[in-house]
Symmetry: C2
Amino acid sequence: MEKTLASRTVFDGKLLCLEVIDVEVEPGVESVREVVRHPGAVVLLPQLPDGRFVLVRQFRKAIEEEILEAVAGTLDPGEDPLNCAGRELAEETGYVAAELHNLGTMFPAPGYTDECLHVFFARLTGESVERCPDEDERIENVLLAESEIEDLIADGEVRDAKTLGAWMLLKGRRPELVVRGS
Amino acid sequence: MEKTLASRTVFDGKLLCLEVIDVEVEPGVESVREVVRHPGAVVLLPQLPDGRFVLVRQFRKAIEEEILEAVAGTLDPGEDPLNCAGRELAEETGYVAAELHNLGTMFPAPGYTDECLHVFFARLTGESVERCPDEDERIENVLLAESEIEDLIADGEVRDAKTLGAWMLLKGRRPELVVRGS
């Protein structure tokens, strides 16, 4: 426990809010924590009836490169993560979930942000609807067999921690959920 | 690619810097990206000669709770990740690496931060030195067998994404590195 002595919001933006907090680590030891407030997000590993998973590739300004990631999206204020998962799946990929299974939650960077990721496995119907990503999103679907994803991980080509973490949860938590394709 | 039209630093703190960037997503489509600049960090999975791994438990103000994590630490300006890994290992846990193996890099949250995590597997000597964490750090070592870590993951009790991601890299990239304890 670190007691809050004082806190101030130094930035309140479109996505992020930054708070600087003076804390008492223990009596006589004080410090400052810089905390990024984030609304939270969902992460999905959707699987088609043929066994392939749907991942996405998109350019990320923060790292100035295109990166392969699990499907993900930010929670609207007060939104239920399960609803958000179904919505983001359709908006970003055009696919529809027949079932959504909760794989748990994880924190991408608990050292400096309260963002919580709600992780789901989605069994897809195979049908697709019209995609409607946000106006400033450019997202490309990438369909990969389980073995192809594992080869990419082995080769160091999956470099998004939430994607590696979600894959670990899928493999480590619920192996019976995964339909193996031919 | 998103062309930078303008950018401004809205906060420059002890750990984080926050930049707001106006971008052109494509001709005629503009947007704003909020980017947290971070110096980068190392993540370690250290293993004792008896096969147990050293994890750490610490309170994180951002999420207001104690969490089990892989050993990690922020890079000093210009510091080589391999040097940082050895330094942070000794400072935080008191253990000494006989060998450090690079498992690759990953981004904890490429949607809004440029932080890059350099992941290492450490084979420990088994000796320990005096720990010297930062004055405002309170870190407890947690020694766990491989099967205990996998049980915690299966039970949803590992909720730090970098720890899950690093474990995935260890299992997925270099299984031959892991010494199995009795």
